[in-house]
Symmetry: C2
Subunit: 243 residues, 2 copies
């Protein structure tokens, strides 16, 4: 990934987000970074409480250069993050196992983003309600129209956090193994075993009336489809969606 | 997940690993924790450098109560971790989207583990070589027999880090949505859209001789198979494999 375009809009490169290892795989332009973020639902949030680092998996979404996640108002993680502490939000897609002809050159194909910022809790109830709606709409476009509005108590019990991306970098590996020239003669299978997260057959709630089928809000999640493609498609339907 | 068995071998529960939110989903017994770890290849490592938290995705493996990962000797992350700094190694499997009848009760099905310890770098070349071999064997049992041994330079260029699990907790959600009683009449599809990471058709290296098929070391990765099942199967073949 050495094709970083200097003219493309991107994030400032500092000691924090500079890709050091295999830097030819690193990118800093927003298009590359947003594409990887928008193909994901799950991120891992790194934060520190009393010197102890934590990596917490959570669902997240992006609006412009802001990332949002949510949880319970009673969550220790979210309470700590409310203070404006630095966080690192990481997304990784595992795309394949790379089988090389020496142990040293084994690898994985992947796409990843590390985004840095300071978590801020959204306190304003109206803004919280908007974000709760955006969360559902980002993953299931049109679904909120079929749901009752959240109650005051539900808004209260929900904590929404967000951060502006101050810095970010994307990294990826694609393609076949790269072996030492002398090793290509080795009599061992080499190549890539692709991996993808895919959608299964929907399993209706046991209390759902007979014959009710998933609505258009779930159309992207057709059985057999790649999750990253479904998520990217739904992200593109957000009103604010930008590259 | 309220079926924690007090008598089962497990990790000590302290302020660091106690599952606070939805604690009925939390478990501390090694069987539950190891099963989730052993079904994964990718973890996210949280660590702190100069007050800044990072979550770095990386491949890892388990031997007993020890977790290992590797990287380049030149990596900033691994150099920092060599000092014995506290880390949190997190694994998350995203198993499904849970569609409820109110925005508030939407959820995901998942299995996750957070493991805490102090990273130690393996300095001894013989122990490093053993770990490099274990890394390949854990994912591709029998493969090292077909590979040339790593060179002294390759061993030198590889950093292997490990940690003893001091504390850990597992968390999971399974099953259909749980809605407020009054909402079950809502005319909206509710249920679970299952997700799984699956193996694709192997893509041979362009420089592989015609007609060479993947060997028995890759048997677990049959096209269409779930990655978690393949990884768990291969983990069970490790000589030290314990529950």
């Amino acid at each position: 990934m050495s094709d970083r375009t200097a003219a493309a809009p991107g994030f400032p490169i500092t000691h924090r987000n500079r890709v050091r290892r295999l830097h030819e795989r690193g990118r800093y332009d927003t298009a590359a970074i947003y594409a990887i973020l928008d193909a994901a639902m799950l991120c891992h949030l790194a934060y520190v409480i009393d010197g102890q680092p934590y990596a917490t998996p959570t669902a997240f979404w992006r609006e412009g250069d802001r990332l949002y996640w949510h949880g319970s108002s009673a969550s220790r993680m979210l309470r700590a993050q409310s203070e404006g502490i630095p966080v690192c939000l990481t997304v990784a897609h595992l795309d394949g196992l790379v089988l090389a002809r020496s142990a040293f050159h084994h690898a994985v194909n992947y796409r990843s983003v590390m985004a840095f910022g300071r978590a801020r809790r959204i306190e304003d109830p109206a803004e919280k309600l908007r974000a709760m709606t955006a969360f559902v709409e980002r993953f299931f476009p049109g679904r909120t129209a079929a749901l009752r509005p959240p109650t005051t108590q539900e808004v209260k019990a929900t904590a929404i956090l967000g951060m502006r991306i101050e810095q970010a970098s994307a990294k990826r590996r694609i393609g076949p193994p790269v072996d030492d020239e002398a090793d290509y003669v080795a009599a061992v299978w080499a190549g890539v075993i692709p991996l993808a997260t895919v959608v299964g057959e929907p399993s209706p709630c046991p209390r759902l009336p007979e014959g009710m089928a998933p609505g258009p809000d779930l159309a992207a999640y057709a059985p057999g489809r790649r999750l990253d493609a479904a998520l990217a498609k739904n992200r593109a339907m957000m009103p604010d969606a930008e590259p």
